[in-house]
Subunit: 349 residues, 2 copies
């Protein structure tokens, strides 16, 4: 049975269940409006390790362990771990996978990783290659700053479009739709949340070169994937309660809304960006949160729970990734971006 | 239909056809014993660009274009591009994907990328999500040296276990087994080469910390995946003509052979390592070739053609990846590694 529809989308034969999630965040994320939705809030910058990178790795590992533990499935019953992070050579994900001992497929989609891993995970399950897949993504503010920009010790100033890399790790545990575990049996699982469709992104580049304005670089990719999803599936904005982006931030979100309006699609009243809702205003972050971990923890910790609680019935979740490196930027390249998307629906089946 | 067998392996319902390949190599690779098997040999270190990184990107893009062009399929008829490379943020693959305009799923498996992309590509096709998938991997000697070790200008010395990162890009075009295009119709395609099984690797770490001895770090991962493949599928070494590794080099290959012997499996007479056969002896490279591009061009350019020509009938191709970064090394970590494998068979169907 052929499940591809249109140029870039797939429709699953049987909706893939999101059974549980695990989220670990840092102290600033833990002070934000979503704090009660996260599983673990770490108030120590290093979490007992001796580097930001090792702290991120510990968060990644724990996020996966928490998602799996909630489900009641044994760790060695998880078929594959799919995921990545922002650090060079995705060492966070790879070294966490060493500890977890789950067969591992490493991905790199920059901040689109949570959507890329969910999409591929759902394809592996619906394709008959797995019963249970863990997907995970993480980021760490201090580790990302010193790798992509400047070490914190240099005291760099924010620009008006700066976003703050979220310190946190999110994990989703996907299973076959035929898994009918109820919340009565496992109180911490999601009961009615399923992935039904996916749209694979193309690399899009509108020529933005400012590494402090990632939202602007990524908004065109989000528009491209969203409009392609509508075209491929025949759905319209009316079919969705919510269009969720990962980390466009406030400037990028405005740009996405305007770009879509220019193409005749009004998403304004239905759009939420994970980066816009994670931090409290008191932190004075110019344009909101960013990083792989941003959509990981906001989707896993907050939005999926609201979906499960009937607050929404059908979302399109797109995480966007800026695919540049400091090297290509220094060599004069603009910031190429990508967005992958999955339809996540509340279904009682 | 459930296609997973054992803990880490999958058996495809219908063998996935490898329809064509594209290979582009640098001048040292072009002087080696396999030179007549490559599609393009580039004698200029920059290939008309102004950096090693841009040269690598151009090779990546061309390798995909060549594989697709040989097949007679239009570029926009390719469902997805799956792949990665060694440079930070896999910018080679991502920026090549921007030019190719094929929906893109970025992977990072270090030097295991050619096997990881083939495995995932075959799963997407057999799962019903695609008809045609391009897989690709690349590396560049000078770009890798300055990122992972030292810029060439510093004149670093080789150690006895040093391997040379291959400058080159390889691409495989996978299609459904039902594609019956013959060589009469498209003279440059492969006619009888199929992927039948895959084994997803676990991250393995034997505690090696020497970044100039990647072969030793990766050999345990190769052993782990090979023995797991035998256990999962019920096959033995007798079922294969050839066990191919990506870039263990001469020291790592010896180590793999000995590790397997210690577990009661003698692969010595059937083992080939891509890194051991790419360079001529005159180049005096201590331990052979390495890098994502190594297995990409040797598999795509040489071994698949020999398989198609009846020289072999069944191979197990494992590309191994060392998953460390300079940062984790400096923070005292050992080199974690992974190996993914696919069974590639000559079938007349």
């Amino acid at each position: 049975m052929y499940k591809k529809i249109g140029r870039q989308s797939v429709a699953f034969k049987e909706p893939v269940r999101i059974l549980s999630s695990g989220t670990v965040v840092g102290k600033n994320e833990g002070k934000g409006p979503l704090s009660t939705f996260f599983d673990v809030i770490v108030n120590d910058d290093m979490w007992g390790t001796d580097s930001f990178e090792k702290c991120e790795r510990k968060m990644y590992e724990q996020a996966v362990r928490i998602a799996v533990q909630k489900s009641g499935i044994e760790l060695n019953g998880v078929d594959y771990l799919l995921g990545g992070d922002l650090l060079n050579q995705i060492t966070t994900a790879s070294y966490a996978a060493r500890e977890l001992e789950i067969p591992f497929l490493g991905l790199y989609g920059a901040c689109s990783t949570m959507a890329e891993s969910s999409l591929l995970g759902a394809m592996l399950i619906d394709g008959g290659f797995a019963n249970t897949v863990a997907c995970a993504a993480s980021s760490n503010f201090a580790a990302a700053e010193r790798q992509y920009r400047m070490p914190l010790e240099l005291g760099g100033q924010d620009t008006p479009t700066t976003q703050r890399t979220v310190t946190g790790a999110g994990s989703l545990l996907l299973t076959c739709g035929s898994n009918k575990t109820t919340r009565k049996e496992r109180p911490e699982i999601l009961e009615h949340v399923y992935i039904t469709h996916g749209t694979i992104g193309k690399v899009v580049d509108f020529g933005i070169t400012d590494a402090n304005n990632m939202g602007a670089a990524m908004a065109p990719a989000a528009m491209d994937t969203l409009l392609r999803h509508f075209e491929d599936t025949g759905r319209t904005i009316d079919d969705y309660d919510l269009i969720i982006t990962g980390d466009l931030g406030s400037f990028g979100s405005e740009m996405l809304i305007n770009l879509c309006k220019g193409r005749g699609v009004d998403i304004e009243s239905k759009h939420i960006d994970c980066g816009n809702i994670i931090y409290s205003k008191e932190l004075n972050i110019p344009c909101g949160g960013s990083g792989c971990g941003c959509s990981g923890v906001v989707m896993g910790g907050y939005l999926l729970k609201r979906l499960d609680a009937c607050d929404y019935s059908r979302c399109f979740f797109m995480a966007t990734g800026a695919l540049m490196s400091p090297t290509v930027n220094m060599q004069g390249e603009s910031i190429a971006s990508i967005a992958h998307g999955v339809s996540i629906e509340r279904l009682v089946i």
